[in-house]
């Protein structure tokens, strides 16, 4: 039986609440960084297979901006912050206040800003997940790529040569005034970490 079938409403609520707490912290951090109030919310949390993630995000050829970092500690795994290129431009322009070329490629400055935003977001989400589960989860230095979804995401499945078939997907919405931008966090626990994480969330795992 897949993990997503074993999760009850309660666990989804817990994951979503963790997401909202993390988003709250992230919003505070972002607001300080950008010098204006930024709101963040987590409308939806799901546990999906890789195929479902590809479908949900527009197919494996879909161009995306991906910030990747490795999580080490009690529940190790790979984390991605995925945002569509036009949403990323919106985020940079309307929220971060950078001058952006709406149609063009991403400059080094833009990529660096996205990497830092992704770093703050993933860091605060991890902190609230770690606080709740009392597991040690430490993010490593992030890196960013703009490319096909399949190309960037397959990298997260490869770790140590084994496939962790489940992805925790956390939809996120950023707001600043009337402007709203969406993005997604993906957390892919290493296979040996999945039982650890889900036991800590109160889900039986035999």
């Amino acid at each position: 039986m897949g993990m997503h079938e074993r999760l009850g409403d309660f666990q989804y609520d817990v994951l979503k609440e963790i997401g909202n707490i993390g988003a709250g912290h992230a919003a505070t951090a972002l607001s300080h960084l950008l010098g204006k109030p930024i709101g963040m919310s987590v409308p939806h949390v799901s546990v999906l297979s890789f195929e479902q993630v590809f479908e949900a995000l527009g197919g494996s050829e879909e161009p995306v901006v991906a910030v990747f970092l490795r999580v080490v500690g009690d529940s190790s795994g790979n984390m991605f912050f995925i945002i569509k290129p036009d949403s990323a431009k919106h985020l940079l322009h309307h929220l971060a206040g950078l001058e952006v070329d709406e149609s063009g490629d991403f400059s080094d400055m833009e990529l660096s800003a996205l990497c830092e935003i992704g770093n703050i977001l993933t860091g605060t989400y991890l902190t609230s997940l770690a606080d709740f589960t009392r597991l040690l989860m430490v993010p490593t230095v992030p890196s960013v790529a703009v490319d096909m979804l399949g190309a960037v995401l397959s990298f997260g499945i490869l770790n140590y040569g084994v496939t962790g078939d489940h992805v925790l997907m956390i939809d996120t919405a950023f707001t600043q005034g009337q402007v709203q931008v969406g993005g997604n966090f993906l957390y892919i626990p290493d296979p040996e970490s999945f039982p650890v994480l889900f036991r800590a969330l109160g889900v039986p795992f035999e």
Binding site: F50, F54, G59, S60, E61, P63, F68, R70, V72, D105, T140, V141, P142, S143, V144, A145, V146, D147, M148, L149, G150, A151, V152, L153, S154, F155, I157, L158, N159, Y160, G161, V162, T163
Partner: protein
């Protein structure tokens, strides 16, 4: 190409095709899209290889298509069943990129792309199948299509357009 018969090859999957049509796999990052073609028989094969070596596979059913050392021999035997001969096969491959820069905590597994390419070359060399063209490495994602009549491999990427091998 608009009405062509397209056979999709998923991640960690392989497939073969005789005559009219295309074999296609999308979103190759560190994975390698390995294709074999026998021009006389007009039989093509494609594998979306994720990892170099099946010896690291855990218990349970082995997915041969996932690993270079098992996918390539399987592809050869599937093509031979369609009338191809290993002595006439030529290989083309694409992928094997490194999508993210390696940080201080990134170990050997970050280099999975180049290792996949190296393993494909080694396995092909053991089978005496020549690699006639490749577009590997770098830090770009690729989508490939093999025409099973001409043997032309079309490589698409987000930033670099289309390339024919």
């Amino acid at each position: 190409m608009n009405t062509a018969h397209i056979v999709k090859v998923g991640m960690a999957d392989l497939n073969v095709l005789a005559g009219e049509g295309l074999l296609k796999t999308t979103g190759l990052g560190s994975c390698v899209g390995l294709t074999l073609f026998d021009k006389d028989a007009q039989v093509g094969g494609m594998a979306h290889i994720m990892l170099p070596d099946s010896r690291i596979a855990r218990d349970g059913a082995l997915n041969k298509a996932k690993f270079a050392d098992t996918a390539i021999p399987e592809l050869v035997s599937r093509m031979e069943r369609l009338g191809a001969s290993v002595g006439r096969m030529v290989a083309k491959m694409a992928g094997g990129a490194q999508m993210f820069a390696a940080g201080p905590n990134m170990a050997e597994w970050m280099r999975i792309g180049p290792r996949n390419v190296d393993m494909c070359r080694a396995v092909l060399s053991d089978l005496r199948i020549p690699v006639v063209a490749e577009d590997t490495g770098g830090n770009i994602g690729r989508t490939i299509e093999l025409c099973c009549v001409t043997g032309i491999l079309t490589v698409r990427s987000v930033n670099r357009g289309v390339k024919e091998l």
